[in-house]
Symmetry: C2
């Protein structure tokens, strides 16, 4: 363990600890000769500074925590990448936690982040009910912004996609390809993106005159395996829909896999769409039609909201109302749907 403290530097430079602190943090003007000496001595001694002590004293850590349901999901990996970049540009540090789909692990992470005095938390809760308590407890103490998935907790902002609009865009595209009947594969209603997507699917399908095949809304989870299994069942029936709409790209990739296994042509026999626009959608066969989420824009908005809340927290001012920001996705048409006629 490094044991060189600010006091060591100060002593070696022949100044007081406060002066050394001021030089090294640039918090106040200081004689340029003294400054140079302190810097030199600090370098020579290999002084690194103790962030823990600094955080304790300043009561802020210049770090924000982020908790995602699963880092194995490329969509969240992309979100993390964007947030990390945005934070880094602001000179802040990201503490990333992977809940591995478990509300318990998620709760432990949230608690740990609060204990570590992060200045804010970005969370995509993994369960629409089981995550509420932990998110609520965290939000009571530190600014929390929910990203993508969300739970009903007061005082937290949310940034995500406009699900209703997203489903409309997909379904309109499918209507354009002359699809008449559709099915929707999504995750259990235990996480929050889902409920909105199901509603968006049903309402827009009805509005556009699309038939939802019987038992055409299938609840699994956001995984390739789930998409495969659901597609197996759906495709084994007589009333195959013209298009299978999926609530994320992983599910859609599972559907493509199942179609290939059964020799069902995509998009000839059935069209398939995803949501998220993960990179791999470009490398499956056929390449995947999907909705791109504006992850970079999302990250920027998260930073903005977090920034506002953090300054509120610092000022001790009354927090403003919660913001809900539903951004529009962008349709990315590839090979898994037919040309618009």
């Amino acid at each position: 363990m490094n044991t060189i403290t600010l006091a060591d530097v100060a002593r070696a430079a022949g100044v007081s600890p406060s002066t050394a602190s001021r030089v090294l943090s640039g918090s106040r003007p200081v004689g340029s000769d003294v400054a140079a000496r302190v810097h030199r001595v600090a370098d020579e001694l290999g002084y690194t500074g103790n962030g823990v002590a600094r955080a304790l004293r300043k009561r802020r850590t210049d770090s924000v925590g982020m908790v995602v349901p699963s880092i194995l999901n490329p969509f969240f990996a992309g979100l993390v990448d964007s947030i990390e970049a945005a934070l880094h540009d602001s000179g802040m540090q990201l503490l990333l936690c992977d809940a591995r789909q478990s509300p318990d692990v998620e709760a432990a992470h949230l608690r740990a982040l609060v204990e570590r005095n992060v200045d804010g938390i970005v969370v995509s809760p993994c369960h629409s009910t089981a995550s509420i308590d932990a998110v609520g407890r965290a939000a009571a103490i530190v600014p929390v912004v929910q990203l993508d998935r969300w739970v009903d907790v007061q005082g937290t902002d949310w940034v995500g996609m406009d699900d209703h609009r997203a489903l409309r865009m997909v379904l309109e595209h499918l209507v354009g390809t002359s699809a008449r009947s559709v099915a929707f594969l999504t995750s259990e209603l235990t996480n929050s993106s889902t409920a909105d997507r199901v509603r968006g699917f049903r309402e827009n399908a009805a509005a556009l005159g699309l038939t939802v095949v019987p038992d055409g809304v299938v609840l699994g989870d956001f995984s390739v395996e789930s998409g495969q299994a659901a597609a197996e069942t759906l495709l084994a029936r007589g009333d195959r829909p013209d298009a299978i709409v999926c609530a994320d790209d992983l599910i859609a990739i599972g559907v493509l896999s199942a179609c290939r296994a059964r020799g069902i042509g995509v998009p000839r026999d059935v069209q398939v769409t995803g949501i998220d626009d993960i990179d791999f959608g470009r490398y499956v066969v056929p390449t995947l039609t999907t909705l791109a989420q504006p992850t970079v824009r999302m990250a920027a908005e998260v930073m903005r909201l977090l920034g506002e809340r953090v300054s509120f927290a610092v000022n001790g001012a009354a927090p403003r109302d919660a913001t809900r920001l539903a951004l529009s996705p962008r349709l990315v048409v590839r090979e898994s749907t037919r040309a618009v006629s």
Copy 2:
């Protein structure tokens, strides 16, 4: 900001701060009636504890930092998942950092982790030379284990794959499918897994009597795009190899994509192999033959090594020699190579 301190709890429970501390941390026997009272009061007040203050006093944080070259690479996402699980089981917290392929960002993260007094660092350096200084500086202060990629820094352990053996396994498999000529697509020699893999490729190809086509070792980076580009060039030539061996699955997926674009059959016209066994290798067409890295085992070994180093650091004992642990991969044969004849 939560402002309930241990002193508040102690006062409300009518005990001294030391006693409250002992109750809440269980560090020493305490009267059971007193203990109960303190616990109850702590609950009522919603006491959470200040990890920063605790860390400053105890001089350990029960957290380890991890820095990966890119969280967008599913292989590293998998590694992170395994490490996170292993740490969580030990009651420790993972601070994950994404270098986004930049040695500068990586250096900033390493510095930040050291400043935050993490108990140890797991790093997969993104550059074989540009990463040396930052890793070295970190290793001088806190226990460092390198994972997968590595740079030459004294006093650090390393856990990874036996590259030489890995290439032998791939090439032996290809010999078994009657391949006679091969090419190797890998990343620039600017990162460390690469040099060993190139050597492993050349030596084993020679030993097995395989012909390396002229300019058959192509240096790009670990990405789909790089694989695509390299394959374009390679396939445009007259002397197409029987098999294209790739240094990771992303490159291989790029090769598959390029083959499909040019109407070249895999494995009929050319065989393709990857390394890592990322999930998506099962969902490309054809499915990808690859080498699986034992990520769970790797995570366990990292934990073990880190544990040893941390206790050394705590005891102030002389650190033991650096360990290098090269684990064997497992061949996963799928559709992108032919049946063994």
